[in-house]
């Protein structure tokens, strides 16, 4: 029974690590490109938000899965 909780924790934890790394990379690149081309700030920001949202989705799937496993 305890092993199940370990699995749930691992699922959401690993997914969060991956999503965090991914979002970190996206934001890094966005800031870099903003520094290189400050004029395109608005466009880069929107693209960054979009990329972050799509990456975040993976963590959300894990969250849903872990909740499903919980019950």
């Amino acid at each position: 029974m305890e092993l199940k909780f370990v699995g749930i924790g691992l699922a959401i934890g690993l997914a969060s690590i991956a999503a965090g790394l991914g979002i970190g990379k996206i934001v890094t690149q966005a800031i870099e490109s903003t520094g290189r081309n400050p004029e395109a700030h608005g466009k880069i920001f929107n693209m960054m938000i979009l990329g972050a949202a799509l990456t975040e989705a993976l963590a959300i799937y894990a969250l849903v899965l872990s909740f499903m496993m919980l019950k």
């Binding site: 929107n46 938000i49 979009l50 949202a53 799509l54 989705a57 959300i60 799937y61 849903v64």
Partner: protein
């Protein structure tokens, strides 16, 4: 401390159950409808006050969407839907930060049943939004490419690889519903839980930065929902490369 994931039923009208999130959704609808009615009651060439504000909001939203769609006519077609998402989500998110939300209510079996709860902090609402969004995405794809042409994206027997790709596409359409709904629900709900916990630990001053953060996230989440809807529609209406 008890935080309920589900929205609670507070009363029922003619046998229809009314939850606290439905109540706040009505408040949000009322606020938006009244303010927009007053904004556009006497339209003036040189806008001022609330008309100016709404014009600014709509114009910037339209510009943003046009940047992603690339076509003004198509943007105008989906604009009412996307903008309604935006305003509803934004107002609901920010309403959840008002004092009294989640704290005024009745005790039932030792648990507080709040009267007000942000509409987007309820999976029913976000799931409804996600369903609408994904259904609209499918409809616009079918309208732009034709039923069979669009369907070929999902069910394709030309080769085993294409068949599997189509299967994945089909799954990803359902995954869109989940990601849409759980992203919004998760971030708003988690934000409220966070605020509740912080306020419970240190009631004064300390929650303020978190309140500002939630204000920012509320706006970002509304924007993300709209942008994702627009981008998915763009992808669905664009012909595939091969």
């Amino acid at each position: 401390m008890h935080v309920s994931v589900a929205a609670e039923q507070i009363f029922s009208v003619f046998g229809i159950p009314v939850s606290n999130t439905m109540l706040t959704a009505w408040v949000a609808i009322f606020l938006l409808a009244i303010s927009s009615y007053f904004a556009t009651r006497h339209m003036r060439k040189i806008p001022s006050g609330i008309q100016n504000f709404y014009e600014w909001a709509i114009e910037s939203l339209l510009g943003l969407m046009e940047g992603f769609m690339g076509d003004r006519k198509q943007t105008l077609k989906i604009f009412p839907l996307a903008a309604t998402f935006f305003f509803f989500i934004l107002v609901s998110n920010w309403m959840g930060l008002l004092p009294g939300f989640g704290s005024i209510g009745l005790f039932e079996e030792g648990n507080l049943i709040p009267f007000f709860r942000s509409a987007t902090a309820d999976l029913n609402t976000t799931l409804a939004f996600a369903m609408i969004s994904v259904i609209i995405i499918q409809i616009s794809g079918v309208m732009a490419l034709g039923f069979f042409h669009y369907g070929k994206k999902f069910i394709n027997f030309s080769s085993p690889i294409n068949f599997f790709v189509g299967l994945l596409e089909l799954i990803s359409e359902f995954a869109k519903i989940i990601s849409f709904s759980f992203r919004l629900f998760g971030s708003v709900f988690a934000g409220e839980v966070l605020l509740t916990i912080i306020t419970g630990l240190v009631p004064y001053v300390v929650p303020l930065p978190f309140l500002g953060l939630e204000l920012f996230f509320g706006g970002i989440q509304a924007l993300v929902f709209v942008l994702l809807t627009v981008v998915f529609i763009k992808i669905a209406t664009t012909e595939m490369a091969h």
